[in-house]
């Protein structure tokens, strides 16, 4: 297989940041908050770049949907070794309601336009934890999917994927073209070295809007409310087993 791989990269709030909910409970605070590439997307980029280094594929294209700042995320992917980027510009209210369904429609349209042979995505984003985009994209394209991949190997015109499932590991073989979603243990993403950051400046990022791809991004979901998780209540220490049982009875738990 000597084709093109699309890698989706999402700009999310950095994993180390303490999330705060806006006072009006409409969403979380994003202004002035540190953002970076979704960790699972980093793993996806790393896998694609590794495939290119092994000469299994020819070109890695990094895709991100969002406002101007999404370009930073694409640049990071370029610095990791992607060849070029596509920035699908979505701003304002549209960006706030952008979700897996719209992204998968965009990815599907791009896959057709770019004649991609493989789409690699992170298994989920650490902000919404949806875990849907990969699956929806595969369905829209009617392509096979290898999700929660902890090992991927190309074997001729098929792909062997070892998936991390609740019961252990499941190995499947799927046809190309396909959608893969990366799980944590797939690889360890490389650092963008300084020389690669410099090289990334010369790589191209194409700009387009969802409308250019014929994709309708109206949302079918309305977020009603965002709340912080309830504060953890202090526990109670008991002296004897009898105390424990009576407290449990009091709480109506036994």
């Amino acid at each position: 297989m000597s084709g093109r791989v699309l890698v989706g990269v999402k700009r999310v709030i950095d994993y180390a940041v303490k999330i705060r909910v806006k006072p009006d409970n409409s969403s979380v605070v994003t202004d002035g908050v540190k953002h970076s590439m979704n960790p699972f997307c980093e793993i996806a980029v790393e896998e694609a770049v590794k495939m290119k280094e092994k000469k299994l594929i020819k070109e890695v294209v990094a895709v991100s949907c969002g406002p101007q700042q999404a370009q930073e995320t694409i640049r990071t992917a370029l610095a990791m070794g992607a060849d070029r980027g596509i920035h699908v510009e979505v701003t304002g209210k549209d960006y706030e309601t952008l979700g897996p369904l719209q992204i998968s429609k965009i990815m599907a349209a791009l896959a057709k336009k770019e004649e991609a042979q493989l789409i690699i995505l992170g298994k989920q984003a650490i902000d919404d934890d949806c875990n849907q985009t990969g699956q929806m994209t595969a369905a829209l394209l009617d392509w096979p999917q290898g999700t929660f991949a902890s090992e991927v190997s190309l074997e001729g015109d098929k792909i062997k994927v070892v998936r991390e499932v609740d019961g252990g590991l499941e190995t499947i073989k799927i046809n190309v073209p396909a959608v893969i979603t990366a799980d944590l243990r797939l690889n360890t993403p490389r650092y963008a070295t300084l020389p690669n950051i410099m090289k990334a400046k010369k790589k191209k990022i194409a700009n387009m809007k969802p409308a250019d791809l014929g994709v309708d991004i109206t949302s079918r979901l309305e977020v009603l409310r965002v709340d912080e998780p309830p504060q953890r209540q202090a526990g109670v220490k008991v002296e004897t087993v009898e105390d424990l049982v009576s407290k449990l009875k009091e709480a109506g738990l036994v």
Binding site: R75, T76, A192, T193, L194, P195, I197
Partner: protein
């Protein structure tokens, strides 16, 4: 009188705005694609961005180094300090990340970036470990710059690719009897036909333990005084070059500091860097730039120490409230933060001035002197704010306290910096 003032004022205004435009042009001509993000950071039409304005490339570099330093260097800092030894893995990864050839062109395997990027890199490294930062600083601002500026095509061919890939360099100027009085150095280079014989010794040479190449300042003609000082490129395995046991230091322990002995070391004529007798000029010139690098190191040190301390003050509760909430603490903390900010602006401005090709020596001296003082103040205060735990080796604070002291001493003592600044001030009032 007023008219004269207006004319002077508008003249200096124009002088300020023109070089800034040249500055931006300089940036643009450096990269193959324009740096649009400078303008996009600010409202349209803002021609004089704040000092803390970075090109996209600089921001990305800083983020990359920050992450790398946290993940690859932070875990071994304590061990390196304890053993007074630089970790081999860290050395290797510094090269892999392209941090040792920041301004070297890609044709020599370098990163091909700018001086300001080096400054940001050194600052970020120093936040985690000032020893690693100084190694990176010496390589980039002293060794690489000397080769790039003065090297013949053959010398560049032989050394630049190695310097950016796997070879560390050492800058050998100081001797036991000549520190601040650098030009009274005694190491002698005697000319014979097409080679020189070097005899003498050097002291306080950083990176010496791991260096593959040494830039040695030796005098070819003592009767000419400092005008005999010449810069020689000496490879590590040259016969007669002895690298002695490294010093057991208070701070910057992971950075090796060794005396060197030269016993009839034979160096071919082609290994002279630049011109014979011009070594003193090169030394001064390079140290002016190296000064800004050290300022960045002290700055990072202060900031790193501060960043470790403040969370503790926000957590620690005494008398029913966070110690951060006591007014006495707040005033001290705010004072230190202001000093760090001032040090940062001095450093960044000196770096930008140098990049713009404008005079920067006075500002570089101010930056180095000030940040070294700020580092001393910050680390001292941080130990106090941390209380008893600040005094223990379980917390990183005491290491910063030990590391900062050399800042007022090396690469030009504070007294030398102050005298240099005074000389410039004197000249300014000449007309």
């Amino acid at each position: 009188m007023a008219a004269l003032l207006v004319r002077l004022f508008s003249k200096s205004c124009r002088q300020i705005s023109r070089p800034w435009a040249a500055c931006q042009a300089g940036w643009r001509s450096r990269s193959t694609t324009p740096a649009p993000d400078m303008a996009s950071d600010h409202p349209a039409g803002l021609v004089f961005p704040p000092l803390q304005t970075y090109s996209e490339e600089e921001s990305m570099m800083r983020e990359a180094v920050k992450k790398y330093a946290q993940e690859r260097i932070a875990p071994v800092v304590s061990k390196m300090d304890e053993n007074s030894a630089m970790d081999e893995e860290v050395l290797k990864s510094l090269f892999e990340q392209g941090l040792m050839g920041i301004e070297i062109e890609p044709e020599y395997n370098g990163t091909g970036s700018t001086f300001f990027s080096s400054i940001l890199v050194i600052e970020e490294l120093a936040k985690v470990d000032p020893s690693v930062a100084v190694l990176c600083d010496i390589q980039n601002t002293l060794i690489n710059t000397l080769f790039v500026k003065l090297g013949t095509a053959a010398q560049k061919e032989q050394y630049l690719s190695r310097l950016s890939t796997d070879m560390i360099g050492s800058f050998c100027l100081s001797e036991a009897e000549s520190g601040s009085d650098a030009f009274s150095l005694k190491t002698r280079a005697e000319k014979h036909k097409d080679y020189y014989i070097i005899n003498g010794s050097k002291m306080w040479i950083s990176n010496a333990e791991h260096a593959g190449v040494f830039l040695v300042m030796a005098n070819v003609d003592p009767s000419a005084g400092y005008r005999g000082i010449t810069c020689f490129i000496v490879d590590r395995d040259t016969e007669g070059l002895e690298i002695c046991k490294k010093e057991n230091k208070l701070g910057l322990r992971a950075s090796s500091t060794c005396p060197l002995n030269f016993d009839n070391v034979k160096v071919p004529e082609k290994n002279i860097l630049g011109q014979v007798g011009h070594g003193y000029k090169y030394a001064i010139g390079m140290l002016n730039e190296g000064r800004i690098g050290i300022a960045a190191q002290m700055l990072g040190l202060a900031q790193g120490c501060f960043d470790h301390t403040i969370p503790y003050t926000r957590q620690r509760v005494q008398f029913g409230k966070r110690i951060f909430d006591f007014q006495g603490m707040q005033h001290q903390i705010a004072h230190v933060a202001t000093q760090i900010e001032a040090g940062r602006l001095l450093t960044y401005n000196a770096a930008r001035l140098k990049e713009a090709g404008r005079p920067f020596i006075k500002e570089a001296c101010m930056a180095k002197y000030f940040t070294a003082e700020v580092a001393t103040l910050t680390t001292s205060k941080c130990i106090e704010w941390m209380g008893g735990v600040g005094f223990t080796k379980d917390y990183p604070i005491e290491k910063y306290y030990r590391d900062c002291k050399i800042g007022t001493i090396y690469e030009g003592t504070t007294n030398v910096q102050l005298s240099t600044i005074a000389k410039f001030i004197d000249k300014e009032y000449d007309h």
